[in-house]
């Protein structure tokens, strides 16, 4: 990748991004308008570290939505091989992870019964995901992952001390290996990149897909 390639990729991304902006930033349309997706850092209305995290979450979510933009139900349901997850299931998996860490960090609890009913198969993936997650249009997945992200807007009554706090639960923090709230949300964020990598890989191998370098 040289600068010219970067700019080309970047321009393509931007062109298909604008329509998604309201979706990506349901609660933060004003921020997206003023700073935009390529500004990572403190964001108006948030404490410095939370604002930085929000800009990262928004950027990564935009790239996921760009990757799946325009996909049909058949494409979202496509199973590459017997081990593979569908792209639809991977999208749901992002929502499930978001939901899990939302209730963990905002409400100090695990997923309740209705939440587990909605997200359980997506959390597990594998056979359960393959049999239970299919037959939906893109909007179904985008609406669900957008809604759960909106619920977890970390601006609400939270500050950097909350974000940096170490979880005292020994199931999370080992004695010599503290795990903090920022790790949990950074994981939600980088986990979207992880699965976007797989979505791109699968996308380039959908029936009829063009050549790709993924």
């Amino acid at each position: 990748m040289n600068r010219r390639n970067f700019v080309r990729t970047s321009a393509a991304l931007t062109a298909s991004t604008l329509a998604f902006e309201a979706i990506v930033n349901p609660a933060n349309a004003d921020i997206a308008t003023t700073a935009g997706p390529y500004f990572i850092g403190p964001t108006e209305g948030y404490s410095p570290q939370i604002g930085t995290l929000v800009s990262m979450l928004n950027y990564n979510r935009m790239t996921v939505l760009n990757a799946v933009g325009g996909m049909t139900m058949d494409q979202l349901d496509f199973l590459f091989d017997k081990k593979a997850n569908s792209i639809g299931a991977l999208l749901m998996h992002l929502g499930a992870t978001n939901a899990f860490y939302h209730v963990n960090t905002f409400e100090k609890r695990e997923l309740n019964e209705p939440e587990t009913k909605l997200w359980g198969s997506a959390m597990e993936l594998g056979d359960k995901g393959r049999s239970e997650i299919k037959g939906h249009e893109l909007k179904y997945y985008v609406d669900l992952i957008t809604e759960v992200r909106k619920d977890a807007d970390p601006a609400e009554n939270k500050d950097d001390a909350w974000l940096l706090a170490v979880d005292p639960d020994p199931n999370w923090s080992r004695k010599d290996m503290p795990l903090n709230c920022y790790w949990k949300w950074f994981h939600v964020c980088e986990h979207e990149s992880n699965h976007r990598g797989q979505i791109s890989w699968l996308k380039s191998r959908l029936p009829g897909a063009k050549d790709s370098k993924e």
Copy 2:
């Protein structure tokens, strides 16, 4: 993923991590010892936002090294299909991206001739990557990506103002869409997650691999 699964995964990760710690944090061994990979946030010796970024870069790099730990040359060279990149090439691609953004942000230049000779095929991937990147043991890749990361230690005479600064070059920043230095380094970071997702996917399909949910 419930909490039990998380802890199991986390414990497995940690067990295989300790040996890698010196590699992951060549310049920051003391920080790794005091805070550890599951603490994301300001880090001693760095400005607040740079320290947070460093903790993210270190965490993600650790997960990549864990994913490829113990791989043989044959596994690193394995090509899943005619479009696929080998895991070795993906590792080199992480180094190439690091190198590109290092010289861009620290030295305000593009890769020079010897750097392009080293990283060019890994930057491009595709046919060039498939034909040129092979026949190396894991140590070759790990040494290269560790060295280039060490070179780019953002602590050196840099502060948050540097990290947050918008690139005035119109090839990077559109008029209404500023792009800053933090975006570049966040991209280096989340890009490792993106390709780790692909590495995990490919790993579970190596000849003789066990079942996996990837």
